[in-house]
């Protein structure tokens, strides 16, 4: 059992972790940059430590500062949240070396799943479908051309060390592939310091479906069903829901088994997410595994009643998952998460600034996870996510109706937010029909200038 946790993160996820810790009787230490003195997680934690200046490279990404803060406060564990150091294998390793429990999987699991081509190979060996593509890293553009001929175009180049869409290039024929190879190589080199590329068949208009996993040290691995995450913009999720409108019981069970197999292949312990591409003909292939708690985890919490952060903390303390062994986790009802970003809903430009007026929606079926308060200034240095509005209804229709009224009753003044964009998505007939793919948001993208 853990007794004091340092939360190596900020904003809403830090507040969320504090809530879980309080319910478990675990003391909390907040860390913060100089720009985050007034951030809510600092006010709500039992203790706080300033670890550096505003720039996240010097504070939230500063391994020495974070570990040192844990040491001077006597914390026995570190929860990394998402982003920042959450998927940094070296950080997990250092924490362990310093006698601190890392609330997450082992460094080995992080490292394996962080290397996209290695992960792809391990997953394929575990019998989970992957997209046709290169077995490991590409040797040259000629190598890519030969493989692409065999697989058939279109193909996509991805950085082995990649994520967030950088180092990704699509090619519809050999000429395009030749050019794309050099560009992707350079981008990957620049973004990740590692130019290694791999190649995959490109699926047109797929759905992005992910499965929530929980695994404990006792060797139990369970999945808690899927989240539909196809509503994305530049590979950033905007709205997530559960269940997905296109999965039936059989496909859900099959994909769930695959997700568990992936977790087992990675010797995974803790909460994690296995992402799949689902093509129009309902064939699914492994995309990647996220080795952390995710922004959209509350969607699963709402339909399963399982507190994922508490489970994660239990497992980190060496205890087994609390879900009764014989009980199949059976999602009930429908949940939607709306990410509320501090940004202009038309230009998508960040909109930091002072919150002059704030009204959070209440009433049945509504949950708001946020670090906002009236008078708080959203700093320009970090992610623009400022709140997660979650709604729950007995079915998708009720969740959509509830989502609209909650968005309408959510008032944020002083900055621009994505609330108007979310309302437009809800009014979209294709969204309402559940008939969409990852290309859905293209219609809402501002023209590139």
């Amino acid at each position: 059992m853990l007794s004091k946790i340092l939360i190596a993160n900020r904003g809403e996820i830090a507040v969320r972790i504090i809530a879980a810790c309080r319910e478990m009787g675990i003391a909390t230490v907040a860390v913060h940059s100089e720009a985050d003195r007034e951030c809510l997680h600092v006010k709500l934690a039992d203790e706080s430590v300033c670890i550096g200046p505003a720039a996240s490279t010097d504070s939230y990404l500063n391994v020495t500062a974070v570990i040192s803060a844990a040491e001077i406060t006597g914390a026995d564990a570190i929860h990394p949240g998402y982003g920042f150091l959450a998927e940094n294998a070296r950080f997990a390793e250092i924490a362990s070396e310093c006698g601190l429990v890392f609330v997450g999987p082992s460094a080995e699991s992080i490292r394996l799943m962080g290397n996209k081509s290695a992960a792809r190979r391990a997953v394929a060996e575990a019998g989970v479908p992957v997209l046709p593509g290169s077995e490991g890293a590409l040797e040259s553009s000629d190598h890519a051309l030969v493989l692409a001929e065999g697989i058939g175009y279109p193909v996509i180049l991805k950085a082995s060390a990649g994520g967030g869409g950088r180092g990704m290039r699509l090619a519809w024929d050999g000429d395009e592939l030749q050019t794309a190879y050099d560009m992707a190589w350079n981008e990957a080199e620049k973004a990740f310091g590692d130019p290694t590329l791999y190649l995959e068949k490109f699926v047109q208009n797929p759905r992005h479906i992910e499965f929530q996993i929980l695994a404990d040290e006792q060797g139990r691995v369970v999945h808690l069903g899927e989240r539909e995450c196809s509503i994305q913009r530049r590979h950033q999720k905007i709205l997530e829901e559960a269940p997905s409108a296109v999965l039936d019981g059989e496909l859900r069970a099959e994909m769930g088994r695959a997700a568990v197999a992936v977790a087992r292949a990675a010797r995974y312990v803790s909460a994690g997410t296995v992402e799949f591409l689902l093509s129009a003909d309902k064939t699914f292939t492994f995309m990647e595994m996220n080795t952390r708690i995710q922004v959209e985890h509350p969607v699963t919490e709402l339909v399963t009643g399982v507190d994922l952060v508490r489970e994660q903390l239990r497992v980190a303390g060496g205890e087994p998952i609390s879900i009764p062994k014989r009980r199949q986790v059976r999602p009930r009802g429908h949940a939607i998460e709306f990410r509320i970003n501090a940004e202009d809903p038309d230009t998508l430009r960040p909109s930091p600034g002072r919150i002059s007026h704030l009204v959070l929606p209440g009433g049945p079926g509504v949950r708001v996870d946020t670090h906002l308060y009236s008078g708080y200034t959203v700093p320009p240095y970090y992610d623009s996510l400022i709140a997660k509005l979650l709604v729950y209804g007995k079915d998708r229709k009720e969740a959509i109706v509830r989502g609209r009224r909650a968005l309408e009753m959510f008032r944020i003044e002083g900055i621009k937010t994505s609330i108007p964009l979310q309302l437009r998505i809800l009014d979209d007939p294709e969204f309402q029909a559940g008939d969409f793919s990852t290309s859905f948001m293209e219609r809402y993208m501002p023209e590139k200038s």
Partner: protein, 166 residues
């Protein structure tokens, strides 16, 4: 324009109410107090006979509930009160860690109050992840106050020493 105590009272008042800003111009002097801002922004015009020391609640002092901050914050106020704040220079901790005044438990402190120090002189150690980081003075002058306690944690940006520059 105002006595020092009156000015302090004004600042406290603005800080505790919802007033956003007070600006006063009078007999060539000018005073402006911004309330309710995350960034402290009090300025006074040079011409005013108010003198310099309108140092607001130091932004560097640790927030409530903060780990190693409270005693240092208290000391800092003492130092200001005792010595007349405006002309003091503060050496801040560049890292999070544990503050040590001496290289080892049996050794003498690197410096003590009253010592003259040059810029570059080692003042203390801040230990982080078993690494002993020597902290050097970034100014030349006399040590007026030691603001952190030996073997106690310090935050990033926390005040360690007050120096009167020479």
């Amino acid at each position: 324009m105002f006595k020092f105590e009156e000015l302090c009272e004004l600042i406290r008042l603005v800080g505790s109410t919802d007033v956003a800003m007070v600006e006063i111009e009078h007999a060539g002097g000018r005073l402006r107090i911004d309330g309710n801002n995350p960034v402290p922004v009090v300025t006074t015009a040079a011409a005013a006979p108010v003198a310099a020391p309108v140092t607001p609640a130091p932004a560097e002092s640790a927030p409530t509930g903060s780990t190693g901050g409270s005693p240092a914050a208290v000391d800092a106020v003492d130092a200001e009160g005792a010595e007349g704040a405006g002309d003091l220079h503060y050496v801040l901790s560049p890292i999070v860690g544990t503050f040590y005044r001496a290289p080892n438990p049996d050794a003498d402190p690197y410096v003590k109050v009253g010592d003259a120090v040059d810029s570059g002189r080692t003042l203390c150690i801040v230990e982080a992840m078993k690494l002993m980081n020597e902290i050097e003075s970034d100014n030349t002058g006399t040590i007026v106050k030691v603001l952190a306690e030996n073997a106690q944690p310090v935050e990033f940006g926390e005040r360690l020493f007050a120096i009167r520059p020479s």
